[in-house]
Symmetry: C2
Subunit: 579 residues, 2 copies
Amino acid sequence: MGCELEQNIISEWKKHFILKERMLQVKCSSLTPEPVLRASGHVDRFIDWMVKDLKTGECFRADHLIKNTAEKMQADPNVPAETKEQLTDVLAQLEGFDDKDMHKVITTFNMKSPITGNDLSEAVDFNLMFGTQIGPTGDFKAFLRPETAQGIFVNFKRLLEFNQGRLPFAAAQIGLGFRNEISPRQGLIRVREFTMCEIEHFVDPADKSFPKFAKVADLKLNLFSACDQMDGKPAKPMAIGEAVQKGIIANETLGYYMARCQEFLVKVGVDPLRTRFRQHLSNEMAHYAQDCWDAEILTSYGWIECVGNADRACYDLQQHEKATGVKLVAEKKLSEPRVVNFVQAAPNMAVIGKTYKKEAKKIQVALEQLSESEVEELGKQIQNGIYKLKLEDSEVELKKEMINVKRGEKKVHVEEVTPSVIEPSYGIGRIMHAVFEHSFRQREGDEQRTYLAFPPLVAPIKCSILPIFATKKLDPIIEAVEEQMDTFDLACKVDDSSGSIGKRYARTDEIGIPFGVTVDFESEEKPWTVTVRHAESCEQIRVKVDEVGMIINSLVKGYLSWSAAKEKYPVFESKNEEK
Amino acid sequence: MGCELEQNIISEWKKHFILKERMLQVKCSSLTPEPVLRASGHVDRFIDWMVKDLKTGECFRADHLIKNTAEKMQADPNVPAETKEQLTDVLAQLEGFDDKDMHKVITTFNMKSPITGNDLSEAVDFNLMFGTQIGPTGDFKAFLRPETAQGIFVNFKRLLEFNQGRLPFAAAQIGLGFRNEISPRQGLIRVREFTMCEIEHFVDPADKSFPKFAKVADLKLNLFSACDQMDGKPAKPMAIGEAVQKGIIANETLGYYMARCQEFLVKVGVDPLRTRFRQHLSNEMAHYAQDCWDAEILTSYGWIECVGNADRACYDLQQHEKATGVKLVAEKKLSEPRVVNFVQAAPNMAVIGKTYKKEAKKIQVALEQLSESEVEELGKQIQNGIYKLKLEDSEVELKKEMINVKRGEKKVHVEEVTPSVIEPSYGIGRIMHAVFEHSFRQREGDEQRTYLAFPPLVAPIKCSILPIFATKKLDPIIEAVEEQMDTFDLACKVDDSSGSIGKRYARTDEIGIPFGVTVDFESEEKPWTVTVRHAESCEQIRVKVDEVGMIINSLVKGYLSWSAAKEKYPVFESKNEEK
């Protein structure tokens, strides 16, 4: 059941983003060569701080330990009010703490292992990536990717080509991420292997407007801005258009994705009243990020970050460019051509070749890669004798007769820009958890009768098929109903066990099946008919078996509402619901 | 494009198997604790033999090296005929060779590194699993799963429960497998990370009949039986019913899955004339397997194994039972109750407790786990003094007064059986490769004009939208067509670049878009109309914009054939195809 729910949520995500926005899509491997994750900064900085029980060696995530211990102390009547006040400050600043800050808190407040009460070590860093080796020699180091995003960045050049070299464009990736969490817990909330859906939207850094922004401008989101957080004010609803206009949200593209995020969450069953967009505080934002808003959802574990919407500027592409020496830029057409001066060190290959033979080609390449100021420097030095040019692992001396420093003017029609990246990143497991909680219902007047009111689009099973009594006579009708479901690719479940029909209704309600087909003795009259039950209202209509697939498909896809169905088909009074 | 093709193939697989056969489904983690893969035999036996270049250390898969070298030698006119004959024998037996056999071949035929010509090492084993550590302490060893199947076996008890304890039932898993191939190559054929779709069908070992078998009995498959392979005969078409009846295929359940396999492959675009089912020879079959048929597809790389259909008997469940001590069995109702004798060692807990205190509970558990013959042995020994009972890491001495050996008769209504497992296992990347090759076409009379004739169901993009000239006037119509596509969740691509319409048709054909909508100046007359082009035939019909989504959806899903569409809607004569 969980597989189907997850896949249905992902499938809606694909339609909502990839299909609707005509995004490109990639699928990269989970196994990622070390150089990629070194360039992205993950090898050096993707760490958590942990402390160890000095006697047992048990490990705890330092920030979690501080948070839990502080919360316990605040609930303890024996702790003095002054200490509690200090702890309130600690909790407010915890997100920005480094190892030394945390060690200070642990010693100041005399925090111990929550399991044994033993003393704790200083905070040590722990890289959250799973390492392994590729190939038989053991010297090709790799990691399981901690996010899918890097696969898009390293494929940027090809993706840009697929988009005919034009900005803006977006590429998406759906796949597994792996993080070696120190203490995984809370069901689907903190796990070591999880499905992510990520988008990298590449945009001209000078123009982050979004053509379709007007379509979402009036949508109201619960915004919890950095200012409101600092001022201790609550989140407040605001139209996304207004928030962008007032500069609360950095730009239209980021705002558009936040609006579409809310629409998506509601579509798959998250309660918008229990959703807020929390802006990162400046101390928790990565240094390169320009703005970041997490979609947080209220669950029994508190507010949980389920989606990140970040403007990462041009950080990632520049990092990979630096590491590989490959330009990761897009060409931007200038509104009118511009005349620019250029200076260039043109090699005299005949002379160079005579002196440096096989290295001549390398020298040519190295000269092309010199910046304008380096060429100016070369010009100066070579006048007075020699210029030392660095090659990959050597150095050569160039003389005046080898180089011709050319100057001139040229007309350029394009300029190169490193695109900015807007990154919406969805954690599917966490959203799934929220959908479970927000879909949970109890029947009015009988709290024992619980059900899951999944939106039919994401419900794992769309329809149950229940013969009212166990008898072979009804088998051909059941088979005909099953065929109807198969024609429309609707997942269904036959329950012909011996329980009363009311008990079986309750059982299908509990697993969130939105519609039920009941086959009874009236069904046998030609043309065969069955009842269709709407789980949420317990109401039923009577329809022909020939039409039941089409009707349930329309109800599931939303082409037909239940109230419209009740007007179109005869309502059936059931006496079978268990009270 | 590749992502979509893969996902569409997987989605059809899900409908064809999971949905249609009402299978259970699980999603297990890729990271697998070592004990699971030790129990399954992978830690000890999931290896390839490799040889190393003695000077450079470069590694080669021994069997691949022998195969390639032998084939090269056979093509060499300087190699004597006698040697070539010996090499033919080597190639025929290679699948069954161990390390010593391979070393002998390499030395006998003086085989060298194909890169450097250097001497090679003896064959050494190399485990194909990627290892890593889970958690911060580094002492919890794990592997990336080499197949998804083990996740189903270790969840067998829960799956059986979900099926109300009844056999037969099937569980499926779709996910990544990881194999540290020594030399990955041939595009999607041999990769280190790949998507698998696996089914484990659990069935009573005494009754492997299949209720729906009659539905497929007449389907003809190209069968390449072990006997025909040994006799040097080719594969031959045979009805699956006949093959089971003659005992060529072991049982109905295996036969049913083979028939459904062929139906699936054809549905996603594999040519049935280039598909055969090859039975494993006894020396290549795992020792526990009872029968195994690979679906092999003919590609430019030769016959490639794309699907395995194996009867694995009860091997896997028994292995996990042995490793964990947890019974992995199903209860089978006896046709009539049976009276059986039993003997049982009932502990006198009062006495045992006094002597052994805290260990009393462990003793009780150990006594329950004794087999009948062990209880008989206990009865004998305890009469004469003491019985030494083994506990987990100790031994206790039991005396006569501690145990009461009870005998009696009891009526049993069920017996316990370890289910047999029929395992169809699909490699999606390999099937995708075959679909690419088998879908490749050239236009008659103009071989430069190539296209990919994907079945519309799996085509990455279902429809192109092409304005005949680039003009803003047509934009509202293009948008209306896009909305029609979105309503039916049909992936589409607008190409409003400046190329001629014929060039743009050719471009959409090349990427396998089965249908194209052309917006022309006639489109502007109310009601708006467009043409729909069928890529395979280059024929066109003229339809209303309001209906175009419904029509293309019906064509894609197969509710409407192209020839029926031509009768229903006016045919449009296009002068725009490039000849």
